[in-house]
């Protein structure tokens, strides 16, 4: 059975409009781009955190001590 296609409704002032066709494609494309940016950003933050953890461990801090300052 084919997956039900997501309906996209947007509000503009006091109107609610269902996006279709090119408008819907553009919206989904933008949302996918946003999400990709967000995921990349999260990965960057995780990498920064991992670097900090590594540095703290080299300084001899325990897991509990590292968690307390992160």
């Amino acid at each position: 059975m084919a997956k039900k296609e997501e309906q996209i409704f947007i509000g503009i002032d006091d109107q609610v409009i269902e996006l279709t066709g090119a408008d819907k494609e553009a919206f989904l494309e933008q949302r996918a781009k946003d999400q990709a940016e967000f995921e990349a950003f999260k990965e960057q933050q995780e990498a920064q955190k991992a670097l900090k953890v590594s540095a703290y461990k080299k300084l001899g801090l325990t897991e509990a001590e590292i968690n307390a300052i992160l």
Binding site: L19, Q45, L70
Partner: protein, 272 residues
């Protein structure tokens, strides 16, 4: 006795001249051509007497020492000329008169919009030269887990989706550790402001301040948000940032990172 107050007369009771003068005459609204006729007729007014003046179409009362207008707003120029505009309020001038005027302090509500099950909610034409800064309150719930409510600046019916938003923030989870976390610690090049972190079983409230969104300068944005899921889990967050371009914006869009949003948004102008 002037202005005798209220009395219930018994059936068959004979009204005296004093009854008529003090219960009826002095406590009814008298009708005069103007102040001269009123003064001529009532040389010694009593406190609480009312008199209507035909020449100025005003209702007056004697306050014990002078005749003053009752309901000055009725004779106010703004009311009588119908010049009050949207958003104006009645303001007393300190001399007994009131007129419509634009508030000179405090917040003025510009727009309140409720929305349900939408992927985004745009609000057009709310920023103008009338105000420099704006307060925005949002209360939102989401349809899916682990999503964000984001905000973009908007002008001419289109959102700014470029990577020229800059913000960073910090949060404290409601998990008993009192650990402060950094958020977006590399704040350059985002394409939205974070308004709220939300789940599908909790409501998030945000208090947003926008600085100079309409002016052709870099818009500033501060958000305070509280997200509470159930009774124990939640986050307190604050984000500070702004735009890296000097575009003049007239509106905004809030949208869900996935799924849909349900809630309300209210936008207030901060009077200069």
């Amino acid at each position: 006795m002037a202005g005798a107050g209220f009395r219930t007369f018994a059936a068959g009771e004979v009204l005296t001249a004093s009854n008529v003068n003090t219960y009826l005459m002095e406590q009814s609204i008298m009708n005069f051509a103007g102040t001269a006729a009123r003064s001529s007729a009532i040389s010694s007014p009593s406190e609480g007497m009312f008199a209507y003046l035909q020449d100025t179409n005003t209702l007056t009362f004697y306050n014990g020492s002078a005749w003053v207008n009752a309901g000055s707003a009725i004779a106010g120029t703004a009311l009588s000329s119908g010049t009050a505009t949207s958003g104006q309020v009645l303001t007393a001038n300190g001399s007994g008169a009131v007129t419509f005027s634009t508030p000179s302090s405090g917040l003025t509500l510009i727009n309140t919009t409720s929305f349900s099950g939408v992927a985004s909610q745009s609000i057009n034409d709310v920023f103008s030269a009338t105000y420099n800064n704006y307060k925005i309150f949002t209360s939102v719930e989401s349809s899916t887990t682990g999503q964000e409510c984001r905000m973009r600046m908007r002008v001419s019916g289109a959102d700014n989706t470029n990577n020229n938003y800059q913000w960073a923030g910090w949060f404290i989870p409601f998990n008993g550790t009192a650990t402060v976390g950094g958020e977006n610690t590399n704040p350059v090049g985002q394409s939205w402001f974070n308004v709220a972190d939300i789940e599908n079983n909790g409501k998030s409230h945000s208090d947003i301040t926008l600085f100079s969104p309409f002016a052709t300068e870099k818009t500033g944005c501060i958000t305070h948000q509280i997200f509470r899921q159930g009774t124990t889990n939640g986050y307190a967050e604050t984000h500070c940032g702004g735009m890296d371009v000097t575009t003049s914006y007239t509106g905004l869009t809030i949208y869900a990172s996935s799924g849909t949003l349900t809630g309300t948004i209210s936008i207030y102008g901060v009077n200069k």
